[in-house]
């Protein structure tokens, strides 16, 4: 006998399973319309492949997988696509989401199917593809694509394959019915999974309140190495983490996956779907759903086409709406209420519970927490629910995280036992949502903070560069001024040469500075691009491997993408702002451009000049003009030009001379001031 471990806490609510176990599984038939939501699983929504008005056959792919963590959808029966639009789907908050609506023709005409006669000769990859293409997503709770989960990570060797036949929630008997009636199919399905995962041990965990199912399974499993393990009934032993602890004594590390400790878990319903997909080529288009509660007269299990409206199913079970105040999809502990009877049955619809008012009375008003600790005793995650409640009320998010709020599996055991009727789980859900929102906000503000800082830095840098340029120019100008003062209007070719050399050096230095800045930016772009490439390749790898890190990686890639865009933008901005620098540094030798650049530089320089520099420039200008004028005058005199012209030139010369004298005087004053 295998050793059975216990998990902390747990409760024993009334099971209420007998009601729906009275008869065999019934067929729910073909409804008039089928509404197939494009998202019946965790992960990306599927993409429609059909158009309105198109006739589809039963089993035909009508939507393809929308990503790696996604599955395709199939037509559950033959008919005509009459709409692809948002319809109400089963969701706690009554969402509307894209659906493909098929008007059934009642013929139930299959697309020709082709199964694999001998799966054991096929490679696991091939079988995984089949499973994915059959649209199989976990049929227990969350609806995680089965193939993704089975594939796991290459580095985590799976030792234990666990099939979850626990069905610990009260009322639900869908898996129990499967065990009783289709034990053979289950075992075949498990064998296929074994072939894919190659575990060293395979366990089917079943609570001891399903003796008939256990007997049937054991019989079917005879001669195989599949072990059917029976353990005491206790809610929530069907929680994946709890089941793992019961069967192996190991705990899945917080935030980790069962695969991290060499375990992969699959739901019992999934095994039957796998068997059908591989042996018959039949996609997942129907499931077993329990319809029960005192508001239905003939409770039981139904084989129902996915997309069938709940109302159709309820009608078959003899639903009396006058007796029913709340309709629950799932069980009484973790299920959620539906307010629209027309939402369709989906892959995760294991139960439809229509209780009477007295069966599940409305919750009485909450009283004060008396810290009785019953909740802590019941909590399967070993949390302190009363403390979490306390902190939730006070919105003390840090304390909540310290007390491991995110390890809460929302099983509802604490609320169930609370004598003060406090809706504890509701508080936790709200707090979790708040904290996640806060994290997102924080991330956003962090990003904008970084962006702001980058901008500030850039501005500061530009300011510095400008200052450096100004200083260089000033130096050059001073040099020239000195030279002018030294040579006193006579150009000394040596001085001029020195000055030119110095000026050139200064400008080179400056352009070197801008160049290094440019290089930095270019480097940033290049490295970010590289990072993006590695991140993308990692993501791709993860997707191929079916790692559940995909989402996190995707986020990483997105972030890097944003960073790259930012870096590129910064570079572009920089280049736009520094045309002369960049063009100068990649000297094209284009004279015209050089001239333009020079003119620009001159203009820019003028803007930056001190009054002294301006004067100096003025003096220089005047001197030049005077020189030219004198030359011209001499030329015209010697050429014997018209007196009028000579007179005019003479007058100009005089004017320039007086102006020059004025300017020089002014400049001398400045220089004297500076000297003192």
């Amino acid at each position: 006998m295998r050793k059975i471990y216990d998990f902390h806490g747990g409760i024993h609510p009334p099971e209420n399973k007998q009601q729906s176990l009275g008869g065999p599984i019934r067929s729910a038939g073909i409804p008039k319309q089928l509404t197939v939501p494009l998202s019946q699983h965790i992960g990306a929504a599927s993409k429609p492949l059909v158009t309105i008005g198109e006739r589809v056959l039963k089993g035909q792919v009508i939507a393809e997988a929308g990503g790696f963590v996604s599955v395709p959808q199939h037509a559950p029966s033959s008919g005509t696509v009459i709409a692809i639009e948002d319809r109400a789907i089963p969701h706690p908050s009554g969402f509307h989401a894209p659906c493909i609506v098929i008007e059934c023709d009642g013929k139930d005409e299959w697309l020709p199917l082709q199964g694999l006669a001998n799966y054991s000769e096929r490679s696991p990859e091939e079988l995984l593809d089949l499973i994915r293409e059959a649209g199989i997503a976990g049929m227990g709770g969350a609806g995680f694509p089965a193939a993704v989960k089975l594939k796991g990570k290459p580095e985590s060797q799976i030792q234990t394959l666990i099939i979850n036949g626990t069905e610990c929630e009260p009322y639900i008997t869908a898996d129990d019915a499967l065990m009783r009636e289709r034990a053979e199919d289950i075992i075949t399905g498990v064998k296929i999974l074994q072939h894919i995962v190659k575990p060293t041990e395979t366990l089917i965990g079943v609570e001891d309140n399903k003796p008939e199912g256990i007997v049937a399974l054991r019989e079917a499993a005879q001669g195989s190495d599949i072990e059917v393990v029976e353990f005491p009934t206790k809610y929530p032993s069907g929680g994946e983490k709890q089941l793992i602890e019961i069967l192996t004594g190991k705990q899945v590390p917080s935030g980790g996956l069962p695969a991290d400790i060499g375990i992969v878990c699959q739901n019992l319903g999934t095994t039957v779907a796998v068997q059908q997909a591989v042996l018959q080529g039949r996609p997942l288009i129907s499931r077993i759903t329990t319809v029960t509660g005192e508001a239905v007269d003939q409770p039981g299990n139904f084989e129902v086409l996915l997309g069938t409206p709940m109302s159709h199913l309820l009608e078959l079970a003899g639903y009396d709406s006058t007796r029913n105040k709340r309709l629950i999809m799932g069980g009484p502990m973790m299920g959620f209420t539906l307010t629209d009877l027309n939402v369709p049955v989906v892959k995760t619809t294991n139960c439809l519970l229509a209780p009477s008012e007295s069966e599940l009375p409305a919750p009485p008003p909450a009283q004060a927490c008396i810290r009785c600790g019953l909740c802590a005793e019941a909590c399967p995650a070993s949390l302190l629910p009363q403390q979490l409640f306390w902190f939730s009320q006070g919105k003390e998010y840090e304390k909540l995280e310290q007390h491991n709020l995110f390890d809460c599996i929302e099983c509802g055991a604490c609320s169930y036992v609370c004598p003060s009727n406090i809706p504890l789980v509701q508080y936790y859900r709200a707090s979790k949502a708040d904290i996640l929102q806060q994290r997102r906000d924080h991330e956003k503000s962090e990003q904008s903070r970084l962006r702001f800082e980058a901008r500030q830095e850039r501005l500061a840098r530009e300011e510095e560069e400008k200052a450096a340029k100004r200083a260089a120019r000033k130096k050059a100008a001073e040099l020239r001024a000195q030279q002018a003062a030294d040579s006193d209007s006579v150009e000394d070719p040596i001085q001029a040469a020195i000055e030119r050399a110095k000026a050139k050096k200064a400008s080179q230095q400056q352009s070197a500075a801008t160049e290094s800045e440019l290089e930095k930016l270019e480097k940033a772009v290049a490295s970010t691009r590289k990072r993006l490439e590695t991140a993308s390749s990692k993501l791709k790898q993860a997707q191929e491997e079916g790692s559940e890190l995909v989402e996190a990686l995707q986020k990483g890639v997105d972030k890097t993408q944003v960073k790259l865009e930012q870096a590129e933008k910064a570079l572009a901005e920089y280049q736009a702002k520094q045309p002369q620098a960049t063009e100068g540094s990649h000297d094209t030798g284009d004279a015209a451009q050089a001239a333009i650049a020079k003119a620009k530089a001159a203009r820019a320089a003028a803007g930056d000049m001190s009054p002294q520099e301006k004067l100096q420039k003025q003096v220089d200008n005047l001197r030049q003009r005077l020189e030219k004028t004198s030359q011209r005058l001499a030329e015209s005199r010697s050429a014997g030009e018209e007196a009028k012209i000579v007179d005019a030139l003479e007058a100009t010369e005089q004017r320039l001379q007086s102006k020059l004298a004025e300017a020089e005087q002014e400049l001398a004053k400045f220089n004297a001031m500076e000297a003192s």
Binding site: P170, R326, L327, M334
Partner: protein
């Protein structure tokens, strides 16, 4: 008809705060009956008069705080407080003494802190300690038990409560006092000399303690609270008294059995220490909480100046409960260290 939208879980267990409180009251009954048998109707009058006051004070406090009086009165917590204080106080206490005690418990210890669930200190014990410090004479006047003295009748009890000036009861030192003051006789001699001692402990007291033990066991059976704190407390008292028994010499602190069945030991263990609001929460924390209370009880009993020690020990540990909780937070699923894995 519109369908309700309610979040999970949809099912709720049978337990309610009212029922918890009712069962605590019920479990206290055997103890009350035994006390009444041995000491007369004093305790009963304490409880009834106290309950009346408690409900009135509670209603008043709720009104002042603008709460729904009917809704909160129904939680029975005021009745429980009054009953516990009534049991803890000496029988035949005057009406005003009870009134001061109940007022301290309900208004001071409970509502000033925000009402049920928010009070850090056990209200009944706060009431008791306020009285013991303010009126030590009245609070230590215990009647002699049946078999030693005359047990007053119902009329006497009413008179003692409402016309205290006219009541003249006979009071006597409790066995715990006698033992503490003894420094010349061997335990054995003490037992022979003094008629207030019974088979294992004080006459009458031993049976009252056993009755409270029975009530406590029933509450445990009903899973109203966990065994951790009371058992830890009783074990630590037994252990310490065994260590310091000293062979029954004149310096002996008394035998383990004597301590377990004296004074308010069992009442304290099952009706005070288990008060969920003011005790530690985690199971490990409750073990520590109970053991430390037991230790304090023994130390104060043997070397302190007060006749019994439950109230002080409990209040001191009420202080410590949050710290104990802080250091005994159980490891959440998935947070075990690798080495702790099976």
């Amino acid at each position: 008809m519109a369908l309700l939208r309610i979040t999970s879980p949809h099912a709720h267990g049978p337990m309610s705060t009212q029922r918890v409180m009712q069962q605590v009251l019920l479990a206290a009954l055997p103890g009350i009956v035994v006390l009444t048998y041995f000491f007369g109707f004093g305790t009963l009058v304490n409880i009834l008069w106290g309950s009346l006051l408690a409900l009135s004070f509670e209603a008043l406090a709720l009104k002042l705080r603008g709460r729904d009086i009917g809704f909160y009165l129904k939680d029975y917590s005021a009745l429980v407080t009054a009953t516990l204080l009534g049991i803890a106080m000496p029988p035949y206490a005057p009406w005003w003494l009870i009134a001061v005690g109940i007022a301290s418990a309900i208004i001071l210890a409970k509502h000033l802190y925000g009402g049920l669930g928010y009070n850090p200190f056990n209200p009944a014990m706060v009431g008791y300690v306020v009285l013991l410090i303010s009126f030590p004479v009245q609070m230590t006047a215990w009647t002699a038990p049946r078999g030693v003295g005359e047990v007053p009748g119902l009329l006497d009890a009413l008179q003692a409560c409402f016309l205290p000036a006219l009541y003249d009861g006979v009071t006597q030192a409790t066995p715990l006092d006698v033992l503490k003051q003894n420094n010349s006789l061997l335990i054995e001699q003490l037992w022979e000399d003094n008629p207030i001692f019974g088979r294992w402990a004080g006459l009458g007291w031993e049976w009252a303690n056993l009755a409270f033990l029975a009530g406590g066991a029933w509450l445990l059976y009903r899973r109203i609270f966990t065994w951790h704190a009371p058992v830890a407390m009783l074990l630590s008292i037994a252990l310490l008294s065994a260590i310091f028994y000293d062979g029954g010499s004149s310096a002996s602190g008394g035998s383990p059995l004597f301590h377990l069945l004296s004074g308010a030991t069992m009442f304290g263990a099952f009706f005070i220490v288990t008060d969920p609001v003011t005790s530690a929460v985690s199971l490990r924390g409750r073990l520590i909480y109970g053991a430390l209370i037991g230790m304090l009880v023994y130390i104060i009993r043997v070397s302190g100046n007060y006749p019994d020690a439950i109230a002080f020990a409990v209040l001191i540990m009420n202080f410590a409960a949050p710290f104990i909780d802080h250091y005994t937070q159980p490891p959440t699923y998935g947070h075990r260290k690798k080495t702790e894995q099976h």
